[in-house]
């Protein structure tokens, strides 16, 4: 945000003060400053709502003006060394500010003249891909990188092997149960199930299938007790 912009056509207290003095065609001096004090205060009064920082800058200049004015009205008024140098300071700054006007004009003219010197972007010639393989790129490094990856993958495949069990087919289990039952007439789940968990599950699934097809009848007296299997019919 640019607060100085909100002060209308003027950019600051010095700008306004100089305008007031130049309006009266006065030189920059203590006398002229005393002369425009009233106008400056009037302007300060009429300032629209501005930022406090901006207002403070205006008040700072106003206070010095009032000091100058009091001095001209009351010649007997003794000013301290600081106050005197404050007044001199304001005069000096105003002079510098007046000088700066030509600097501003110069710049503005140059800006508007549009005599731009064009330049190139950073490394514009290198905007296409630049072949830069780096020092470490060679056959060995490629090979060893691939080898490392391969070894890492191998670890995984070994692990899969350890969990791989013998595959039990359901159909095989069904015909096995039918075989046993035809031979023995009846049996139990525990007798049929082998040692492995996988086999027990397969056996159980096979029994459910057989029970559904009404080839066997299942009986269990209580929860978690052994299941009796009898041939149907």
């Amino acid at each position: 945000m640019d607060y100085s912009f909100k002060v209308g056509e003027f950019q600051g207290p010095l700008d306004k003060l100089l305008a007031l003095i130049e309006e009266k065609k006065l030189p920059i001096s203590e006398v002229s400053l005393a002369d425009v004090t009233e106008d400056f205060l009037k302007y300060l009064d009429s300032l629209p709502k501005v930022d406090f920082a901006v207002l403070a800058d205006f008040v700072a200049v106003a206070s010095r003006l009032i000091l100058i004015k009091s001095k001209t009205l009351l010649p007997s008024l003794e000013l301290s060394e600081d106050e005197e140098s404050d007044i001199k300071d304001l005069e000096r700054r105003l002079t510098v500010y007046q000088e700066l006007k030509s600097a501003k004009k110069n710049l503005e003219q140059m800006w508007k003249a549009g005599k731009i010197s064009a330049a190139r972007e950073y490394l514009a010639i290198a905007s296409f891909p630049v072949f830069s393989p780096g020092e470490k790129l060679n056959q060995e490094s490629l090979h060893s990188a691939l080898l490392k990856m391969f070894q890492a993958l191998q670890k995984f495949s070994v692990e899969t092997e350890t969990i791989k069990d013998e595959i039990i087919s359901l159909e095989q289990k069904i015909s096995e149960i039918i075989g046993r039952i035809t031979k023995l007439g009846e049996t139990t789940l525990r007798k049929l199930s082998g040692v492995s968990k996988g086999e027990a599950i397969a056996t159980f699934l096979a029994l459910l299938q057989l029970a559904r097809d009404q080839i066997v009848r299942l009986e269990q007296s209580e929860h978690f007790s052994d299941i009796f299997i009898k041939k149907n019919g």
């Binding site: 640019d2 100085s4 000088e99 110069n106 710049l107 140059m110 003249a113 731009i116 064009a118 950073y122």
Partner: protein, 187 residues
């Protein structure tokens, strides 16, 4: 091969402003060779048969006098007078406007810089934080650490700004010397 040819090639290839140190390191020149090479290049470019110019933070003839000359930047640009022939290419850049506050602060920084924010505000009599910030963001001014006060900054015109107004260094601004004297005496 002349060192001025090497310098021209590096400046062309680099495009952006480059510090004298990086330039010297790249071309492998010592200070004296760099100075002679750059001055020779500048002289050649000044011929009316050439379309380019050297843009630097300080006039080339003086740049080596400063203590931190190797941090100063230099850039190859087109001659400002040739701008009309580039108009179609530069249209976007030419339409930028300056507010009165921007213009005022910019002229203080260009003519009196490197200058602290406090000094800018002293000269203007008004708080200038926002204006300086907006100029910084637009790349018109640059901020450097104050060599005398570690925690303060100094503002100076950017090379991009100098190119924009067609000055090959701040010293080329009209009445520049007068304001430098003013700086010594008054502020």
């Amino acid at each position: 091969m002349d060192s001025s040819a090497k310098l021209e090639a590096v400046l062309f290839a680099h495009g952006e402003a480059i510090s004298l140190k990086k330039l010297a390191d790249t071309v492998k020149l010592n200070e004296e060779e760099l100075k002679t090479g750059l001055l020779a290049l500048q002289k050649e470019l000044e011929e009316s048969s050439r379309g380019l110019a050297l843009i630097s933070e300080e006039p080339l003839s003086k740049i080596f006098e400063s203590k931190n000359w190797d941090a100063k930047k230099i850039q190859l640009g087109t001659k400002p007078d040739l701008a009309p022939f580039l108009q179609g290419l530069l249209r976007g850049e030419m339409e930028e406007e300056l507010t009165p506050a921007n213009l005022e602060v910019l002229s203080i920084v260009a003519y009196l810089g490197p200058i602290s924010r406090a000094r800018v505000e002293y000269v203007r009599g008004i708080n200038s934080v926002f204006t300086l910030r907006s100029l910084l963001m637009r790349g018109l001014v640059e901020r450097i650490a104050d060599p005398e006060r570690g925690n303060a900054f100094l503002y100076k015109p950017s090379l991009d700004f100098l190119r924009h107004i067609g000055a090959s260094s701040p010293a080329e601004l009209p009445e520049y010397q007068k304001f430098q004297e003013l700086k010594k005496d008054e502020i």
